[in-house]
Every structure is written in C-alpha cells, then in structure tokens.
C-alpha cells in the first residue's frame, strides 16, 4: 500500500467547489492522491461534500479552484477518454434496455462492434453471476441484482478507475454485506482502482486500503486512516479486534470534526450537491 512505484491514478490539488445556488461551498482545499490498485473510501456525514468530491474526480462538476487529474491527464480529458466507470446509489439502469443491453451501453458509446460487445457482456454477466438474467428487464430484478448489473456496466470497458457513490446505500444489510464481498473479489480480479463513497463506517473499513474521513461545513479532509487488514477479507474480518480498532479510529475522526449540522443547513448542502 502507498507503494512508491505505484502510478498515481487520481491527483486532487487544492480543489474547492462552490455552488452558485445558495453560495454553498461543498468542498474546500482538498488534496488527495490515489495510487493505482488502491481502494479508497470517502466517508463523512450527509452534506460533507463526499459525493461532490467524487463528481469532481469524474469531471461531472467542475472545480471552482484547484485541479484534478486522472491517469496523469486533466479530469475532462480523462472523461473524454473513458478512463473511469461510475456506479450511483440507485442502479440507474435504462428501463427500455434488457440486462445485457444495459451492460452493453458504454461499449456502444465506445463504438465496439456487435460480436465484441456480445463477448464482453457475457463475461461481465458471469463476473456478477447474472448470466441467467441476460434478457430480463431491469424491473424484473431485485435491488441487489440491479446494482450488480450497474457494476457490470461500469466495469464493462475495463476502466482504470471505478467511482462508486454509495452504491449499496439503498440495500438491506444482508445484501449489502454479500455485495461487499463480491465487490472485493471483483476488485482483486481486475486489479482496478476504486473510489468509494459511503456513510457506513464498517463498510468503509471492511472494503478499503485507506479511509478518507471528511468533515462538513465546508467539506474538508479530517484525517486518513490506513487499513492494514490483510486481503482477501472475509466475514471473519468483521469480527477481528483490529477491525474494531480501525472502526473506532474512523468514528473518532468523524466525531472530532463532524459536529452535526442543523437540519436546514444539511438540506441546503444536499440540494447544492444535487
């Protein structure tokens, strides 16, 4: 971890984002480097700008100050080059496309020919264990299955970077823990880099190589916790004493800096983040 040889995939330098509406500063002076192969979680209370930071990396919002580079290029160029895949809290599947066609969407955008697309979609379906559901419509799938399709879609074109915005936030605890394990196994198989937004402390610790704790008003990095639990992690990992120590570390960082917002302030920040 933090291997000096490892290529820097994401480099955020002095990034500040102020939304014009309500003049809300979502994130301020963020500096963050993420190396190739890392699994980095962004955690913080609602409205701390963690989703905004993810969108800055994906060039879905532009920084007011500072710069973001992905794969050594400006974030805008990286987006144009399809350097990352993204997964949102809801699966954002296209209702008019079958499961296969949804996974195939980014490949169509990249201009892959039909045969190549078909092979890759089959591979991805196998990866997320949904081969039997290739021709189903999204509404015929459970929430967890829909999210697996969404992950398969994000990974279909083998992006160097996977951005995930609370991907399992809407799922029940059991489904969530199972998908955590699946995600880790996919991450290890593909050796990709993941930036993962969550508000679950145990999820962040369980998955990550590093946990970036953010504080609100405006969003800043409160501290970074290195997670030195060995991979592959399993159900037992969650029961190890060291797991609890790390969870406590993250919780204390959150408590120290993350005083709670008034409800209306939180609402203003949330709306700005939309």
């Amino acid at each position: 971890m933090n291997d000096n040889d490892a290529r820097t995939v994401v480099q955020v330098q002095g990034a500040t984002k102020t939304f014009p509406r309500g003049n809300v500063t979502a994130v301020q002076d963020i500096d963050l480097d993420i190396a190739s192969g890392e699994f980095v979680s962004l955690i913080g209370p609602s409205g701390c700008g963690k989703s905004t930071l993810l969108r800055l990396i994906g060039d879905l919002v532009e920084p007011t100050h500072g710069s973001i580079s992905v794969n050594g290029k400006p974030a805008k160029q990286a987006r144009a080059d399809h350097d990352y895949g993204i997964v949102f809290q809801d699966s954002v599947l296209f209702e008019w496309r079958t499961v296969s066609k949804n996974i195939s969407l980014p490949l169509e955008m990249l201009g892959w020919d039909r045969a190549k697309r078909k092979d890759r979609v089959a591979e991805m379906l196998e990866l997320v264990e949904l081969s039997n559901f290739a021709d189903h419509n999204p509404w015929q799938l459970s929430g967890g299955m829909q999210q697996r399709v969404s992950i398969a879609r994000a990974l279909a074109f083998e992006p160097a970077l996977l951005l995930m915005d609370e991907p399992f936030g809407a799922l029940d605890e059991m489904t969530r823990e199972r998908l955590n394990l699946e995600l880790l196994s996919i991450w290890q198989q593909l050796a990709s880099t993941v930036v993962f937004v969550t508000h679950s402390i145990s999820e962040a610790v369980f998955l990550s190589t590093r946990v970036v704790v953010m504080s609100p008003r405006p969003g800043r990095i409160a501290g970074i916790v290195d997670v030195d639990l060995p991979y592959p992690r399993s159900v037992e990992t969650r029961e190890e004493p060291h797991f609890f120590e790390l969870v406590t570390q993250v919780r204390e960082l959150l408590r120290k800096r993350g005083e709670h917002l008034l409800p209306e302030e939180e609402q203003a920040l949330l709306e700005a983040a939309e």
């Binding site: 296209f94 008019w96 419509n137």
Partner: protein
Amino acid sequence: MTSTALSPTAAQRAGDQVREWLPALVVFVAGIAIWQGSIAVFNIQQFLLPKPSNIVSSFWNERHTLWPAGWYTFKEALGGFAIGSGLGMIVATLIGRFKAVGSAILPFAIAANAIPIIAFAPIFGAWFNPLSPVSKMAIAAMLCFFPVLVNTMKGLQSASPRQIELMRSYAASPFEIWRRVRVPTALPYVFTALKVASVLAMIGAIVGEYFGGSTTALGVLIRSDAQVFQFERAWAGILVASLLGITLYLAVVSAERLLVSWAPQSRDS
C-alpha cells in the same frame, strides 16, 4: 420447479385469455340483448332507437354506400392524425432543443390544449374548401396537435438526471443523450397522447363533415340520413365510424406494445 410451472402451455394460456375476456363478452351480449328486448317490450319508436338487428342488417345492406364513405372519412382522419401528431412531435423536439423558446411557448400550448378546438370546425370550412377533404384533415390535425405536443414536451423533459449524468460520464454528446435517454423516456408519454389523438382524429373528421363535405363522406351521410328519418342507416353509419375509430386506436396500441414493450405498465393497458 418443473418447466411447465414456469411456462404455461399454449392451451393454458388460451384458457386464461378466455377467462379474462369472458366477463366483458357476457356484458356485451347481455347489453345488446337488453337493447333488442326493451325496444319490443317498451315499444320504443324507430327514430329514437332502432333495434340492433336492424342496425346490423342496414350495415350489411348499405355496405356499398357506407363502407366506401367510411374509408373516405377514415383517410381524412388518418391524414389529420399523421400531420397533427407528426407536427406535435417535431415542434416539441425543437422546443426541447431551444429551451428559451420552450418556456415561452409551453403555457400557450397547455392553454390551447384546454380549449375546445372542435369549436373551430366551421371556420376551417371557410379557410379551406368546405367540400374538400383537406378542411377535415386540418380539423383532425389541429385536434391531434396539442395533446401530442404537450405530452412529447413533458416526456422529453422527464429524462432522469442520473441517466443523463451517467451518459455524461461516457462523454456523450447532447445528441447521444437525446437519442439514448430522452427519446426512450418520452415514448410512453407520446403514446398516451397518440391514443387520445387517434380518437380525436376520427371525431374531428366526422364533426368536420357535419358542417358540409363530399356526399361520399360518412359524416355527411349520417347527417343527411338523420334529417330524412333514415335512422337505421344513420345508426349503421355510426357503427362504421365506431369500428374505424376502434381500428385506429388499436393500431396505435399495437405500435405501443411493439415499441414500449419494456414498460411493465404497458402490459395491462
């Protein structure tokens, strides 16, 4: 689980279909029977309400007059439907492309959608040759235009912001977003309007003909038959109009099933 439990056999499916349609069929047959019976029992005059059997026999005996007249009117309705709906979709697309124009026009489109456009029917006779089919086509087109315009606009604006954000993450151009997100999202809205428009088109054509038109037109025939107390034939004309209206509606529904088959709600419409 056996495969038969998952995929019912053709016979089972046919049985289900019969069970599903049976109540409606019973109501239909009973309704016709009550109609036929009550005319005899209450001695209702022919000009108030003819017997269904007489309407049907008139429908058959007068087929050489009524059916071509129906076809003539149907073509007017179809032309008006195509022109009005087509323009509605095109204008909605242009409005969606140029947002400022859209916000300026939308209130008027919604207001126009609420006024009884059919009131313009006599005016259209003056604008176009009252004897030509063009004036009826214009009425039908005008009736179809506004619901299709308003619904298409609404549909194009209903695209999910997350789906658009996903497309932006693929560096998609506005045209790609329009083609792959906005248009598919709008389709169910468009079809809702097209179903309404298919009914309006037939109404527009026939009401237009009530104000004058070719003697080979269905509306003209219904009106003149009613004036000379040929009520059975007038009713047979109404039957022709109804059948053609239903045909047009069902054609739209079939197209919807084909194009919007993915929507769970399209299965029970």
